[in-house]
């Protein structure tokens, strides 16, 4: 029985390996190429050519399966990568079989096809965003509410084309986010898994729906074509100082004739009579 299984395995392994390498390319094209290339240089994430020489298989497997868990564990390499690329890799819910196929594709198994030497095409193979940029803008600025009740993006982020006071500054400006996350696929994955430490506790409670992710992605895709302002803080301060001055002036005017203590009036009276 055991010998039979061993034979079966020996027969199956090469076949499975070849199948997995092909499948790995499909998985890579579908999930990874938004942010990564193989030999085409860094994008939102690192160039994965030669990954098998840099990282051991277990680490790579864990990171592909659950980057958020590896990052949260305080892993030094993961920390370094987050710092270098400015954003954590989102958890793309990669299955074990997809991960195995990917690892083979990335050069981790003898039977894997060699990594393509030519750069990946720059344009994503996926179709144009299915979302609606106008709806995305309304969601970003709070004109439309998120179904699950999350805060509008504007609370913490600014982006080109949402008015002269812009959006918030707690999070980064998102004008270049579409390019940074490697286009539609990467950005939509980031909006789905929200791997950012400040946002995670909020959007785990109040996740974005698939159509909201698509709409926001469409809106952000168009952002670099719009103009943006940079003096929002000065404008805000100017408006507030102006309002404060108006309120103070009104107070001075309305309370000018207020009744004050009788003593001061008497003292003034005496002072005036002495001057005469």
């Amino acid at each position: 029985m055991a010998a039979g299984l061993a034979v079966a395995a020996a027969v199956l392994v090469p076949a499975t390996g070849a199948w997995a390498a092909d499948d790995g390319k499909a998985v890579f094209d579908q999930l990874c190429q938004g942010c990564h290339s193989i030999g085409g240089g860094d994008k939102a994430g690192p160039d994965l050519a030669g990954l098998a020489d840099r990282r051991d298989r277990d680490w790579a497997e864990q990171f592909i399966l659950a980057p958020d868990t590896v990052i949260a564990s305080g892993d030094a390499t993961a920390k370094e990568l987050v710092a270098k690329y400015g954003a954590p890799m989102p958890n793309l819910a990669v299955t074990q079989s997809q991960a195995d196929a990917l690892l083979t594709h990335l050069g981790y198994a003898d039977t894997a096809a060699p990594a393509p030497a030519t750069p990946e095409p720059a344009a994503p193979a996926t179709p144009a965003p299915a979302g609606d940029a106008e709806r995305g803008k309304a969601l970003f600025t709070g004109g439309n509410d998120f179904v699950e009740g999350g805060p509008s993006c504007l609370a913490c982020h600014s982006v080109a084309g949402i008015g002269s006071l812009g959006g918030g500054q707690v999070g980064p400006d998102l004008t270049g986010a579409y390019a940074k996350f490697g286009g539609q696929q990467g950005l939509q994955a980031a909006l789905k898994s929200v791997p950012f430490p400040t946002m995670a506790p909020i959007f785990q409670r109040e996740p974005l729906t698939a159509s909201e992710q698509a709409d926001l992605t469409a809106f952000l895709a168009d952002a670099p074509n719009r103009s943006r302002t940079s003096d929002a803080a000065a404008k805000l301060l100017g408006l507030s100082v102006g309002l404060a001055v108006i309120v103070a002036a009104l107070a001075l005017l309305l309370w000018r004739g207020r009744l004050t203590g009788v003593r001061r009036a008497l003292v003034n009276q005496v002072k005036e009579s002495r001057l005469r």
Partner: protein, 224 residues
């Protein structure tokens, strides 16, 4: 470790100090539950300083409290760009007025000898902490916009988690240090409550708002 101390321990210690210290002060020194008015010693600067400070800080503090208690209402209110910006401008203007009022009050305590002589060290401690707290708030509202909205989704759930005795510091730990300092200092003020003139918060004559009015008849007009 530090995050646990700041966001899961300090709040409870502060509230415990305020409650226990407040009761202790009430039982041992009941008539000190006041702000110990110095109006008799100087009234003109006091009027402008006190009015600006109190209207300003009560409006700002009220907005903070409303967002915690009626978070869905507040969330809906600010979840619109126009309303959000109007509220932010009003909030910042009111904060600037309260800071100006505090500056007048501080200058008065320094420059009027009679007022200075009735000013205790704890009065100065409180004034410095309040000034730092207001400055942090103004700084935040300028640099980390738009607080009136993200507050509802960060600090408010954290405060709710404290009330439910299940602290969730993760809502706070990744925010900029100014925000964290503002939050912790807020609990610092709660801790200072029984040891400073802040106790007058609970002896404020709020009944004046609904008691029947009193007519004051002057025998003669004040000299013009």
């Amino acid at each position: 470790m530090w995050n646990t101390v700041l966001f899961s321990v300090i709040p409870y210690v502060a509230v415990a100090l305020a409650v226990v210290g407040g009761i202790w002060r009430y039982r041992t020194d009941r008539f000190s539950y006041s702000s110990q008015s110095s109006q008799f010693l100087e009234s003109r600067a006091l009027f402008w300083g006190s009015v600006s400070w109190h209207y300003g800080i009560l409006l700002i503090l009220g907005a903070h409290v409303i967002a915690v208690v009626l978070w869905t209402v507040w969330g809906a209110l600010v979840n619109d760009q126009g309303r959000l910006l109007v509220l932010e401008v009003i909030g910042l203007a009111v904060s600037l007025l309260s800071l100006a009022g505090l500056a007048v009050l501080a200058a008065r305590r320094l420059s009027v000898p009679r007022v200075r002589s009735v000013t205790s060290p704890m009065d100065w401690v409180l004034m410095v902490v309040l000034a730092v707290q207001v400055i942090l708030g103004i700084w935040m509202s300028l640099v980390y916009r738009w607080g009136s909205e993200w507050y509802v989704h960060t600090s408010v759930p954290w405060l709710h988690s404290l009330v439910k005795l299940n602290p969730k510091p993760e809502f706070m730990v990744n925010l900029p240090w100014i925000v964290k300092a503002h939050a912790v200092l807020g609990f610092g003020l709660i801790a200072l409550f029984p040891f400073t003139r802040l106790v007058h918060i609970v002896s404020a004559p709020v009944t004046y708002l609904w008691r029947s009015y009193q007519l004051v008849v002057w025998n003669r007009r004040a000299a013009q």
